[in-house]
């Protein structure tokens, strides 16, 4: 019973969701953006520190929200460090496909990206896809200097 719920709320998601990593402001961030989902009231700020060579030196976030949005944001901040802006963009696209496409999985060829596969359970919960992607959309906005985005 409730297999899909158990698939969604896996231990690793609950762990990241209740104790998110890099959950703080970044004083020396080179760019940041605010993201919100007016439907559920989730609001978060993503901070990025980019190296001159275009790689991500550091990434952190502030804000509150559901377990899915917190876990996704937490895992994202860990995964983007060390990647180039172009690589992060590709990862975002892959992650988006993971959240929406049946059968799609990330492989581990590239630096732990497969860790995100635990979030694939969100596919069975279409209204929760925005929770999972909010942090990524916000980070994307930060990289493009947009400052503020809304998932509406």
């Amino acid at each position: 019973m409730f297999d899909e719920l158990r698939q969604l709320y896996q231990e690793v998601i609950l762990d990241h969701g209740t104790q998110p990593r890099n959950h703080h402001a970044l004083a020396d961030a080179t760019c940041r953006a605010d993201g919100s989902n007016p439907v559920c009231g989730d609001m978060l700020t993503v901070y990025l520190k980019l190296n001159p060579d275009g790689t991500v030196a550091d990434c952190a976030f502030e804000g509150k929200g559901c377990a899915i949005s917190m876990a996704s944001a937490s895992m994202m901040t860990e995964l983007v460090k060390g990647r180039t802006v172009a690589e992060v963009k590709t990862l975002f696209e892959s992650f988006h496909r993971l959240c929406t496409e049946d059968g799609y999985v990330l492989d581990d060829a590239e630096e732990d990206a497969d860790r995100l596969n635990v979030l694939a359970g969100v596919r069975e919960f279409p209204v929760r896809v925005k929770c999972a992607t909010l942090a990524w959309h916000t980070m994307n906005a930060a990289m493009h200097g947009d400052g503020e985005i809304s998932t509406e």
């Binding site: 409730f2 719920l5 609950l14 559920c40 009231g41 989730d42 929200g65 559901c66 377990a67």
Partner: protein, 423 residues
């Protein structure tokens, strides 16, 4: 059907409801009898939209199948029948809230449009820069934003009555806010996010003592309480059909006729004019002055039948039944470890907002959904109220006339699953 037959039927319905047979009531609502993800549906989102009984659904089909046409314009048979049904619905609404006449009933799209109508028309007619409008800290966004827009447009001053930690209006603070510049008090009758019933009669008496008018957002009140606008002593009262077991797309603005008739039109168009030349237009009297364009004819008929339905059950019987459910739910939910009820006023409608330690309301909502239980999770279009209680969101179970104690038990069982994940 003759009137006496109708009366007999209504009486029979009323008598059978003396003990409020909830199972018989449930049989009237086709949508309730289904499974969601393999679990029996428990619909506890009535505060957002209540479901329609078969009589409402059938009445709307009947209009389209037998006598639908546009109203107020045709000389032909169908148009006259539609007009009679549409205006008949207006009379039902008038009786339902004890308006002095059907001419005091304006059909709008819903509560939101009704409040916007008052903000716009009353604002233009009666409010000068510096005049004050008072709202409360537990309003729905629809009774906040129109006044902020008016403030920015017309230079009025917006003041807010605070609420205490239980969710009661702080009456002493209200008395102090009232003054010579107060022109309107716009306040909810039942707070949608926390269920508080506001002492509207007293609010109106105090407002009138300083010469202010009173607008009540009754969206959450009319399904739960017998509303008598004359007894309440207010000046405007707004509500929606879809929270009263009727269809969406139609709602009501009631206003005292002299006041309503002193307001300029809200929107311009057909059906609201007396005469139009290319230079100027003359407008009809209230309520038609405020109903530009083709109205929601079929929905008005549906609303009328919804009113027949709750009237036959008896608002007092409904209130008693819901009060029993509220007391049961409050006790059961309070016993859940880590659960906190937000809004604990003594006088409450059947709405229970809550948070759970370690679980975000959005996650609570998703888990409950998989157990067949529909609740709302979020800020309930009442962000300032959430801020007041220091929460970002709550989960909200809002009960209706067809809910049962067994359904409360199913809700609590679902919350045990939430604890399994997040406890």
């Amino acid at each position: 059907m003759s009137d006496s037959m109708k009366t007999a039927e209504v009486l029979e319905g009323a008598n059978s409801m003396l003990a409020f047979d909830v199972e018989r009531v449930r049989a009237d609502f086709p949508i309730l009898h289904q499974e969601i993800y393999g679990q029996p549906l428990v619909y506890l989102d009535n505060g957002a939209s209540a479901q329609c009984p078969r009589a409402v659904i059938d009445s709307m089909s009947e209009v389209y199948e037998t006598y639908y046409a546009n109203v107020h314009r045709g000389v032909h048979y169908l148009s006259q029948r539609s007009t009679d049904a549409f205006e008949g619905a207006r009379e039902k609404v008038a009786r339902f809230i004890n308006a002095a006449s059907a001419d005091e009933i304006v059909f709008a799209r819903g509560t939101t449009e009704a409040i916007n109508l008052v903000a716009d028309s009353f604002g233009r007619a009666f409010l000068e820069p510096g005049d004050e409008v008072i709202i409360s800290h537990m309003e729905h966004h629809s009774n906040i934003v129109p006044w902020q827009l008016l403030r920015d447009r017309a230079g009025i001053v917006l003041k807010v009555i605070p609420i205490d930690d239980s969710g009661n209006l702080v009456m002493e603070a209200y008395r102090e806010l009232l003054g010579p510049r107060t022109k309107l008090v716009a306040i909810t009758h039942v707070a949608n996010s926390i269920g508080t019933i506001v002492p509207v009669k007293e609010v109106a008496r105090l407002a009138h003592a300083v010469g202010a008018k009173v607008l009540i957002d009754g969206a959450q009140a009319v399904p739960h309480l017998q509303v008598d606008v004359q007894d309440l002593g207010v000046d405007f009262y707004a509500f929606s059909s879809h929270k009263l077991y009727g269809p969406t797309g139609i709602g009501v603005l009631w206003g005292r006729f002299d006041l309503l008739n002193a307001l300029p039109p809200y929107q311009g168009g057909g059906d609201m004019i007396q005469r139009v030349t290319l230079e100027k237009s003359e407008f009809k009297a209230a309520p038609h002055r405020f109903e530009a364009g083709t109205p929601a004819i079929v929905e008005a008929v549906g609303l009328g039948v919804a009113i027949d339905y709750v009237t036959a059950l008896g608002l007092d019987n409904i209130a008693a039944h819901e009060h029993g459910i509220l007391a049961y739910a409050t006790a059961k939910l309070s016993a859940v470890e880590g659960l906190e009820i937000v809004g604990t006023a003594e006088d409450k409608a059947a709405i229970v907002s809550f948070t759970m330690l370690g679980a975000h309301p959005h996650d609570i909502g998703t888990i409950l959904d998989r157990t067949g239980v529909a609740v709302r999770a979020g800020h309930h279009c009442a962000e300032p109220t959430m801020d007041r209680f220091g929460v970002d969101a709550t989960a909200r179970a809002s009960f209706g006339l067809y809910n049962t104690r067994e359904e409360v038990d199913q809700l609590v069982e679902g919350l045990m699953l939430v604890k399994e994940f997040f406890g």
